[in-house]
Each structure stands twice: as structure tokens, then as C-alpha cells.
């Protein structure tokens, strides 16, 4: 395993160095600076804005009872992943000549439809689970009123 690990790591370093070398030799200093700024900014925005925002939302959700929270979390995870891909489309819609057939739709309407469908599915899932657990019978192991926790 150690040998394969070393070979994989060495191959990675070589490929990466090749990429860096070509980037450095085939771009102007100004462009390289911009690339560096974009790379640092990408990490800074992710680690400094997006991730803390997710943590805050997660913290706020603790106020929701566990069984309902499960469905809220599911809807939020799927919804956030779809929304983040849709945002650039929303931002640039209508920016291109008509014959390119590029970004010719109202993506805010479409995103809204997707998110509403998602919320309805989540709500239905919660309702079904809630209805089931009020009937007598074996309950879900993690429902909040379950006192059999070890």
C-alpha cells in the first residue's frame, strides 16, 4: 500500500507541477495575479461566508422539533444545491442575442417552481410520517417523543 500511495502522490505532484508550469509560462503576470486573487477569493467566500451561513442556519433549525427538522433539512439541502446552480442563470438571463437561444428564459420563475415542488414534497413526506406515527405500532427510532433512547 505504501508504494502505491507514494506512486499516486508522486504522479499527483508531477501533474500539478506541469499545470502550474504551463500556467506560469503562458499567462502574463497580470493574468496570473488575477487568477491568484480569484482562487483566494473562492476559498475566502466559501470558508468565510457560505460555510458560516450554513452553520447559522443549522443552529437556528435546532429550535424545530426533530421529526419536522428532518424534513426541513432535506428540503433545504436539495433546495440550496439547486439554487446555487440557478443563481448565475438568473443573474445573466436576457443578456444574449436571441439567435444564440442562450439564457432566453425567466429562470426565476423556473427556480420558484422547482423550490415550491420541493417544499410540497417535503411537507407531504412530513405529513405522511406524522400520520403514521400517531397510529399504534412500532414507531420510528428517532422520533422526538421517543423516550427509549439509550
Amino acid at each position: 500500500m505504501a508504494r502505491q500511495r507514494l506512486a499516486t502522490g508522486a504522479a499527483g505532484v508531477l501533474l500539478g507541477l506541469y499545470g502550474v508550469l504551463r500556467l506560469v509560462t503562458e499567462n502574463s503576470l497580470r493574468d496570473l495575479l488575477f487568477i491568484a486573487v480569484w482562487m483566494v477569493a473562492a476559498v475566502a467566500i466559501h470558508d468565510g461566508v457560505l460555510s458560516p451561513a450554513v452553520l447559522v442556519v443549522g443552529r437556528l433549525l435546532r429550535a424545530v422539533p426533530a421529526r419536522a427538522r428532518r424534513w426541513v433539512q432535506l428540503v433545504l439541502v436539495v433546495g440550496a444545491l439547486v439554487t446555487i446552480v440557478a443563481l448565475p442563470l438568473l443573474h445573466k438571463q436576457g443578456s444574449q442575442p436571441e439567435s444564440k437561444a442562450l439564457l432566453v428564459n425567466d429562470y426565476s420563475d423556473r427556480l420558484t417552481v422547482l423550490l415550491v415542488v420541493l417544499a410540497v414534497v417535503g411537507l407531504a413526506g412530513y405529513a405522511v410520517q406524522a400520520a403514521r406515527s400517531t397510529r399504534p405500532g412500532p414507531d420510528s427510532a428517532h422520533s422526538p417523543d421517543d423516550s427509549r433512547q439509550p
Partner: protein, 400 residues
């Protein structure tokens, strides 16, 4: 004693307790993301080959939809990487807060390599996606940087796999619900880790479970793919809610990438005095009337854009090989095409090998005379060929 131990961890240092984060979750996300990056890397290199093939190994002409599949896969996989990478990074966010921030030279190098991995991957998927929207909010050459940055991304992925192999083995070997909680404390410093405490009971997940989180990620990626893939996979076009291109729209039911206006050919392409100049051992000219008279061959060939969208279309025109033979060339010739285009890239292209034998100089698209945005009066269309290399508004062809 490590020098860093002398510095106490500050009391306000973040603590991560969510039972959802686990090496078991991360390894599963990483496996999918690694495969996706591998697919993007290989299909990306194939795409660059379209533009710069080696002389002794020309692009094949068959199957005609080959580039359609590889480039469609490249773009859709790249789009799928955006939600995937975000969840993957969420799962390892506590690692950013390891204390001490750097414990040794080796640890510092590892953290630096993770920075290179994360920053190059984020830049690659974000600029790749923004590029297919025809949006270039950066000053550098997209193709060049996307190409060479891909080596940095794939190289740092391989290094990351090598460095994290024990974690990956543990993560993939343990049931997703059973894996250790991933917190800001490393295994070696954590008395509750499996490596110190032996097998630990699975942490309770009162609300969403780890399995449900992975499922939600899968659904998110699935929705993104299902609502964009129709721009490549025509049968799924009705689901195309988030696809940038509407492949059924555009002149003659086919989108264009560069309009006649953008190329600066609105007047020159419509000029009555237009003729095609053919340079070769026996040079000649074809007038507009002669071109239209000779255009009797038909072919069904897709237009495939490097931006990932593609659509099959029906063409009528003159077999390129006929034109080349009349100029004194043949199967073995290399043909250079020049457009009337005065602005923007790809005003010329070259063709040789199997594509030359199967190419058309097209006058008609889907039963009508070419729209000016599609290259009126005459354009190149060849099988398994990137869209921009099918030169539009032809002015001159050189047979060598």
C-alpha cells in the same frame, strides 16, 4: 514537545459537534467527486484534441456524435460537481479549524496542498459554469487557464487521495451511520476516535440521518442534472428548466454561438458579388449560382458546441471532397478554411483525414437556405467536429 503545543487553544476556538459529519460521509462524497473530476479531466483533454489534433492522428469522422457525447458528458459532469463539491467541503469544514493551525512541516505542506486542491477546484467548476453562460468576468484566456488548471486540479486530487488513503479506507470500510464524528480535533488527539477507543457506538442523529443527507445530496445533484442535460440529450429537453441553452430555439430551430452581427459579416455575406475562392494546384472560383447548383448532397450531422449543448440537424450542400478534387487535391489533402468574419476568434479552421472525406460545404439547413447567423451563403459542416471549427461565411478554401 512540538513547539505549537506551547500555544494554548483559545477558548473561543470553534467546536463542531454535528453527528452528520463523518469520515464515512466524506469518503463517500469524495469517491463520487473524484470519479466526476476524472471524467471531466479525460473528456476535457479529448475536447482540446478537437482543436489541436496531432498531424498523424486526425479526429475520426465516425461515430458522428462522438464529440457530442464526450463534451456533453464533460459539461454535465462539471455542472454536477458544483453541488457535489459544496457538500464535500461542508463535510470537512471542521478540518479548517485544527489546532494548532500548523503542527509540523509535513502538516503545513499537507494543508497547503489542500488549499491548492480546494481553490483550484472551486475556480475550475465556477469559471467553467460561468463560461457556458457566455459570461467572462475575468481578464485571462478561459481556454488556456481551464486547460492547465485541470492538471493542477487532477494532480492535487491524486496527491489528496495518497495523503488521505488511511482515512478513505476507514471511511469506505465502515457503515455510513457508524463512522466517527468528524470534528476539528484530529483522530490522534481525540480520545473518542475509533483509533484510540476502538469501535465506537454510532452517534445518534436526532433529525436528518447521514444516509438521508447523502440521499438529499444525490437528489440535489439529480435535479440539477435532470434540468440541464436536455441541452445535450434531446429526449430530455422537456425537463430543461435550468439549462442555459434552448436547443430547439434559434434560427431554423438551431442555436448559434456567434451571430453574423458579432462576426461583422452582415453586409459581406449578403453581397451579390460573393464567390468562393478555391486555392490549390488547380485554383478556381465558384459563384453563388454555381454553389447552389452543386449543392445536392444531404447529411444528418449534429452541431456540437464546446459549451456542452448539441443538436442533430439536416444539411444539404456540396461534398467537400468534390471541391478538393477539382482543385487537384484528394483524401490526403489538408484543407484550410477562411471566413468572411472580421471579428472574434475562429475565423479559420483546418480539416484533414476522415473528417475531410465526410464533410459538406453546406447551403441548406433543415430544408431551408442557410440563415445568415448559420453561415449564409456557405459553411463547413463535418461529423464529430466541434461547432466553432465548422467555419461559417466561407470566403476561401486552401487545398494543400
Amino acid at each position: 514537545m512540538r513547539p505549537a503545543d506551547l500555544i494554548q487553544k483559545p477558548p473561543w476556538w470553534p467546536r463542531f459537534t454535528s453527528p452528520l459529519r463523518s469520515t464515512a460521509v466524506t469518503a463517500r462524497l469524495g469517491r463520487v467527486l473524484g470519479i466526476a473530476f476524472g471524467i471531466c479531466f479525460v473528456t476535457g483533454l479529448l475536447s482540446h484534441y478537437q482543436y489541436q489534433p496531432w498531424g498523424w492522428l486526425p479526429e475520426p469522422a465516425s461515430p458522428v456524435w462522438l464529440y457530442r457525447v464526450t463534451q456533453g458528458t464533460h459539461v454535465i459532469t462539471g455542472i454536477a460537481c458544483i453541488p457535489l463539491i459544496l457538500v464535500k467541503l461542508w463535510s470537512v469544514y471542521p478540518n479548517l479549524f485544527r489546532w494548532p493551525p500548523v503542527s509540523s512541516m509535513r502538516n503545513g505542506a499537507e494543508r497547503l496542498s489542500v488549499f491548492v486542491l480546494v481553490s483550484s477546484s472551486l475556480l475550475q467548476v465556477v469559471t467553467g459554469f460561468i463560461n457556458i453562460l457566455g459570461w467572462y468576468p475575468w481578464p485571462w484566456s478561459f481556454v488556456r487557464v481551464h486547460h492547465y488548471l485541470a492538471y493542477v486540479v487532477i494532480g492535487s486530487v491524486l496527491l489528496h487521495i495518497a495523503v488521505k488513503l488511511p482515512d478513505i479506507k476507514y471511511g469506505l470500510g465502515v457503515k455510513v451511520a457508524d463512522g466517527d464524528v468528524l470534528s476539528e480535533v484530529s483522530w490522534s488527539d481525540n480520545p473518542h476516535a475509533h483509533s484510540n477507543a476502538g469501535p465506537v457506538p454510532p452517534p445518534p442523529t436526532p433529525a436528518i440521518s447521514r444516509r438521508a443527507l447523502l440521499a438529499a445530496t444525490g437528489v440535489g445533484v439529480g435535479v440539477v442534472v435532470a434540468t440541464t442535460v436536455g441541452q445535450t440529450l434531446t429526449p430530455l429537453r422537456p425537463l430543461n428548466l435550468l439549462a442555459p441553452r434552448d436547443t430547439g430555439k434559434g434560427p431554423q430551430g438551431l442555436p448559434v454561438n456567434r451571430t453574423a452581427l458579432a462576426a461583422g459579416v452582415v453586409e459581406s455575406a449578403r453581397s451579390a458579388g460573393w464567390s468562393l475562392e478555391v486555392v490549390g494546384p488547380r485554383p478556381y472560383r465558384l459563384s453563388l449560382a454555381e454553389v447552389e447548383e452543386l449543392a445536392t448532397s444531404e447529411a444528418s450531422l449534429p452541431i456540437t458546441c464546446v459549451e456542452g449543448w448539441s443538436l442533430g440537424a439536416h444539411w444539404r450542400g456540396i461534398p467537400l471532397l468534390d471541391v478538393v478534387r477539382r482543385a487537384g487535391g484528394g483524401h490526403g489533402s489538408r484543407v484550410h478554411f477562411l471566413s468572411l468574419q472580421t471579428r472574434g476568434a475562429f475565423g479559420s479552421s483546418d480539416i484533414d483525414g476522415p473528417q475531410l472525406s465526410h464533410a459538406l460545404l453546406a447551403t441548406h439547413l433543415n430544408g431551408e437556405r442557410l440563415n445568415i447567423d448559420h453561415g449564409y451563403p456557405l459553411r463547413l459542416i463535418a461529423p464529430n467536429r466541434a461547432g466553432v471549427l465548422n467555419t461559417k461565411w466561407l470566403m476561401k478554401i486552401v487545398v494543400r
